[in-house]
Symmetry: C2
Subunit: 221 residues, 2 copies
DNA sequence: ATATAAAGTTAGATTAATCTAACAAAAATA
DNA sequence: TATTTTTGTTAGATTAATCTAACTTTATAT
């Protein structure tokens, strides 16, 4: 049995390793807001349970079993977010906090019903892929908007940061997933971008923002 | 702040006192499947927090504050059960276990959305009243079917036991809330009742069952 | 009314999850 | 390379929630 606390460690390990590859105790500690000493002892416990490969002073790694368990928790989180947006009328900026709690509900039927009612979605409201019933996840090949070139037209496919402040920022600018964005020019000095999209003929997006927007390049035709 | 564990004690205290009036440590202990010694120490803790009136060897009583807090938890439980049945397609026999978990979710918006989508319901799928936003509850004046007389026609308004076995028993017999039931006769020996309802011209219900069915007497006309 | 049973309490131990403080290893820098 | 900083570990304490075992109070039954 995996405790709620252990679930949180597994989930953050999973998230951190998809973001930054290698995960160390310090990073995990900061992310969970739990002291390093506590993280170390929890890693030993999770290693006992064969959910984590742990060696002193080495980077942390989930075992295959750990990845699956983490994937299943993230599946519950993302299905919940989708349900909250699609079926309950929440904005994408309000769902994270609730999903953080509902992801720990133990009930196969509950999440199966959500999945079914949503028509078996594969991405959540922020564009992140939803792991399948076996906990497996496939990340589509998105690029950061910040890495695109002037003149390109791209489609907004996901957002990296799901903080409600960032999402509200996007709301104000009428930016949502699926939006077609044209990159008009890039300021070399600060890498800010002048773009057009929807009804907006010209908006400037800072590099900080562009780093957090994932896009797909439009087939040229 | 009230912990999840404390919430469970408050809720069971509330439920037991509406069922049986006075609540003692032993009953609460059995209901929560927690040893009496643990219950005693938790009662002292809840008394510290002014949620329970506690005196050694005396029956347990919620304070006004404790009743409100308990009412708010039960509100979340019953709104959830209603949501699961009405909006997610669960049967009334499957919702208790899930609601036991979701009742602990901390999010005002989540339960407000449920309430709104359900049209501000006042009873849950088992006929129990849903406490209002202030944690206040009003029990309608139901009678037990077992206390009715032969010849009476009554309407099934609530079920006392929400165990999935009992509810499945009712499902098999096509009994659901709102059903009009005619009491044809009562067997004096074991107090079982011969009744008719819906498409069933004659069914026998044991006293055990009749004790768990709450009904409203139909206005005679 | 006294003995027995049931209910309730107290003391002390246990477990999970956390912390602080001291120490050790690894990485960065002078 | 030697020193300093950062990162990681260990040891020991703390808190919440639980338990067992011993004891006490209240209720029940002869």
């Amino acid at each position: 049995m995996i405790s709620l606390t252990e679930e949180n460690y597994l989930k953050e390990l999973f998230n951190l390793s998809s973001e930054s590859g290698e995960v160390n105790v310090n990073e995990l500690s900061k992310r969970l807001e739990i002291k390093m000493s506590t993280v170390t002892s929890m890693m030993k416990k999770l290693a006992e349970k064969e959910l984590v490969h742990y060696e002193s002073y080495k980077p942390l790694k989930l075992t295959e079993k750990g990845k699956i368990e983490a994937g299943l928790i993230i599946r519950k989180h993302r299905l919940t977010e989708m349900f909250l947006v699609e079926k309950m009328g929440f904005g994408w900026e309000d769902v994270h906090e609730i999903a953080e709690q509902i992801e720990h509900i133990q009930s196969v039927g509950f999440f199966e019903k959500m999945d079914e009612q949503l028509g078996y979605p594969t991405i959540d409201p922020h564009g992140s892929p939803i792991p399948d019933k076996n906990g497996k996840i496939v990340w589509p090949t998105y690029s950061k908007l910040s890495e695109c070139k002037a003149g390109e037209t791209v489609r907004l496919s996901a957002v990296i940061n799901t903080s409600s402040e960032f999402l509200k920022f996007l709301n104000v600018r009428e930016m949502k997933l699926g939006l077609k964005i044209k990159i008009k020019s890039i300021e070399i000095f600060d890498k800010s971008m002048e773009v057009s999209y929807g009804k907006k003929p010209s908006e400037t997006l800072s590099n900080i923002v562009c780093e957090r927007l994932l896009v797909e390049k439009e087939g040229r035709f």
